[in-house]
Symmetry: C2
Subunit: 186 residues, 2 copies
């Protein structure tokens, strides 16, 4: 975020989400978002490449954070344990602002193109984590399976957490789901 | 397929795949596909809604076949066992023509929009299978976890099978991956 515009990025995100929910993603223009946030369109483009980026700007940061957590796992950690650490880290980032995440999710679910983009994001995270496991010496099949399964568990847990009526930690929901998967797989 | 044009659907599929590989998906027009198959564009549209449908026409059939297999699982089958039967059935359909599937995969991997569509197809299958498990009395979390994990395993197995240099049954690769996941989860 540019230092001479404190909070402009956050205000733009909030304004964009409000408008996407009010009017729909397609019907919202960058000029509308900038106006709602009280900045110029030029300021918008200093923060985001386009309106879709408001929703996906955090994706590459989340991928990096998850990979860093996986890489910091002790050498003795199993593939699935290393993936669990990666998901914990991702959850720590996503879970910070449940209100924002719920609004973002509502916008994405209402638009086929955004749903496809979200699936692509998760597929990219899975490929990155599988790559991280291979660099740790995990075999090819195990790396892919652990990463894909981890992302599958994340999807299930995230959907439960984001739609839950009571508050709770995303990290805990993920842990519960992972434990349940271990039970199912026995 | 229309009875008065035996084989036109198959010829159109083959012609479309050849052209997608030669020229790229975007650059191929329906008229080109029809010409290569030796039929009119009107005949093309009796078989497919658009050129993308040539690649995804089998998706809803695969979803139905997988669901039917899940529903025919004995009542004593676990959630993951029922999913295994569903994946077996899907593999039986996909695995029939590896040459076609390999070409189709090459076309899809070369195009971001098609990759996103493929992910959406798999997400839809996962949701359908989870619904089938719930109707069998499987709990909500278990149903989602088993279906998402099953599709995750399918993705890993499919990618290995489609890129393998030697021949093999997709079903066997899926079974191996599922067994390996059970080991990882222990």
């Amino acid at each position: 975020m540019a230092r001479w515009e404190p909070g402009a990025g956050g205000r733009l995100s909030e304004a964009a989400l409000e408008l996407f929910l009010e009017r729909g993603f397609e019907q919202t223009m960058v000029a509308d978002i900038a106006e709602r946030a009280g900045v110029t369109a030029r300021t918008f483009f200093r923060h985001f490449a386009d309106k879709r980026e408001v929703l996906f700007a955090g994706a590459s940061a989340m991928e990096e954070i998850a990979l860093a957590a996986l890489e910091s796992a002790p050498p003795t950690a199993s593939a699935l344990d290393a993936i669990t650490l990666a998901l914990d880290a991702a959850a720590g980032m996503i879970g910070r602002d449940r209100g924002f995440t719920q609004k973002r999710q509502a916008v994405i679910m209402a638009n086929a193109e955004l749903r496809e983009r979200e699936l692509t994001k998760l597929a990219s995270i899975s490929a990155t984590l599988a790559g991280g496991l291979r660099r740790r010496g995990v075999g090819d099949l195990d790396a892919s399976l652990a990463a894909e399964t981890g992302v599958a568990v994340y999807r299930v847990a995230f959907e439960r957490w984001v739609n839950a009526t009571e508050d709770g930690e995303l990290r805990d929901v993920i842990r519960t789901a992972l434990a349940q998967l271990r039970t199912l797989a026995q």
